[in-house]
Amino acid sequence: MSALVNAQRFVISPRLARLPGWTVLVVWTAAVLLPLYILVVSCFKTTAEIYDNRLGLPQSFAFDNFVNAWTRAHLGQNFVNSLIVTGGAVVLTIVVSAMAAYPLSRYRLGWNGIMLGLFLAGIMLPIRLASVELFTLMRNLDLLDSLTGLILVYSAIRIPFAVFIFANFMRVLPSELDEAARMDGAGEVRILFQIILPMVKPAVSIVAIFTAIAVWNDFFFPLIFIFDDRYKTVPLAISVFVGQFRTDWGLVFASLAISMAPILIMYCLLARQIREGVGAGGGMK
């Protein structure tokens, strides 16, 4: 039947009819990959070579630009700072959000609906608009110029999304799970961390991936909370860098490549989970 329909639809050959669609997809693939290709090959070129030979492969794969970016521009320190902040925020967000989502989704408390609503409202609250008061608060708590301060702020921002995801996944687990464990005398802490949390591993990875991406990429809060070069994160360093070393294109391209490397590697390893995570939760930015 379907063949008959096709024969009616495509008077020319079906393959030819599919050509425009394919072309559109391939053109956008090129539009995505070409800038990234230029970024990567330019990392190995000197500025003169970038002007002479824009698209070709570099004459030699010299790592001078990377070494300069890492040492002369102190990107190494920024990199470590970003790793600490991202790692800290991911762990803190997962632990406290899973703890909060457990009673909110599995106990009958009478007030858990309201509490869940309070958390979920945070998904849409534009916290950047509170940055003046946040700045004052951070100053009073002595958290300016501190990686701990960034970890706390990022966790606070990501908690609503994490609670939402955890609660959605925990709600559908059968109630026999914790009831049986309670009969055996397991405490609530043990039930959460040894029974429930391992059952919602997909939720843990969704929260971990999306928290990591959001925190690694953010630039706004380091911009207002960090003044000392020693505590700058990668995106903040990059924003200064691009203006400062504008004439040394190879160096700038190399620093961009370094700063996106961890996310690039993560994306290649976890592309499927990320694609499915977008379907499950959305919230990226």
Partner: protein, 310 residues
């Protein structure tokens, strides 16, 4: 009887444990999100000296927003954010729907294209902005390519031209996030039962007809999600402007947004160097907060009503 007592003691334990479990998350969230947000809204009704609240001033900060010299900045930024939103709706979410439809028709290789298209979305807008600033700079790759193809002559100054700069930023933003509508629309299309499309095909509907008359109405939830997300993201636009055009939204404020304007007022980059106007900044923040929450709620309601059920 014992069973009942055990149940009520379990209930009491649960109430106590629930408080302990929720407290850490609630404390962090309340301290660093709810409290500063509430304080900012409250503070917008006061006169400020530097970082200190001085005197209750009613709505005077708000009325100052709309007159000289703030008025021009405000209307400019408001217009740029609005244009940005419509640009994203057409060039990101519109073209994204076309891509999703093409992938849905083929199915083969969909995962590959989705992964490639989504990749820029995992990069920091700072990196994306810096990369495109280099590519679009005078002497950059874009200029070289356009000259080589004979489409353009001489130096390319799209980012320095107040007529084209905003459009370029919107295009870069769309490039950055194109993968999002593609993922959300393809997920939506897969949820539609294949029988509906089969039936339409038998009735003689072509691909374009099926997209417009069948898929589009059934995709309302996905369209609603994307419209709301795009609205929130557009009115929070800051990073790309800061990295590509500076905090003033160069050239001559032609790419200024509400958040870059807010940032200048709050952190002292507007007018005289180092002078902040916290009262005005908080009034702008409160206004933006109202725009965002009212707009978001209206959109959610609008799309909720238009959801077609089969």
């Amino acid at each position: 009887m014992t069973n009942l007592r055990r149940k009520s003691s379990l209930k009491r334990t649960q109430q106590r444990m629930a408080v302990l479990f929720i407290l850490p998350a609630l404390a962090v969230y309340a301290l660093f999100v709810l409290y500063p947000l509430a304080m900012s809204l409250w503070g917008s009704f006061f006169i400020w000296k530097g970082l200190r609240m001085v005197e209750f001033a009613g709505l005077s900060n708000f009325s100052r927003l709309f007159v000289f010299p703030s008025g021009a900045r405000l209307y400019g930024a408001l217009w740029h954010n609005t244009a940005w939103f419509f640009g994203i709706m057409v060039f990101q979410n519109g073209i994204g729907l076309l891509f999703a439809w093409l992938l849905f028709l083929r199915d083969k290789g969909a995962a590959f294209f989705q992964s490639v298209f989504f990749f820029p979305a995992v990069l920091s807008p700072v990196i994306v902005g810096a990369l495109w600033r280099l590519l679009l700079a005078p002497g950059g790759v874009a200029e070289w390519a356009l000259n080589g193809l004979g489409l353009h002559q001489g130096s390319l100054t799209v980012l320095g031209n107040s007529h084209t700069a905003l459009g370029m930023l919107i295009a870069v933003d769309a490039w950055n996030w194109m993968g999002l509508p593609v993922l959300i629309y393809t997920a939506g299309l897969r949820q539609i039962s294949g029988q509906i499309f089969e039936a339409a095909k038998l009735d003689g509907a072509g691909n374009a007809r099926m997209l417009l008359s069948i898929a589009l109405p059934l995709l309302m939830p996905a369209i609603g999600t994307l419209t709301t997300l795009s609205f929130i993201n557009t009115f929070n636009q800051f990073d790309i402007v800061y990295v590509m055009q500076g905090v003033q939204g160069n050239p001559s404020y032609s790419t200024d947004t509400l958040v870059t304007y807010f940032y200048r007022l709050a952190f002292g980059a507007e007018g005289a160097v180092g002078i902040t106007d916290i009262g005005l900044a908080l009034a702008l923040g409160t206004m933006l907060f109202l725009i965002l929450s009212i707009g978001t709620l209206m959109m959610l309601r609008f799309f909720d009503r238009r959801t077609v059920q089969l």
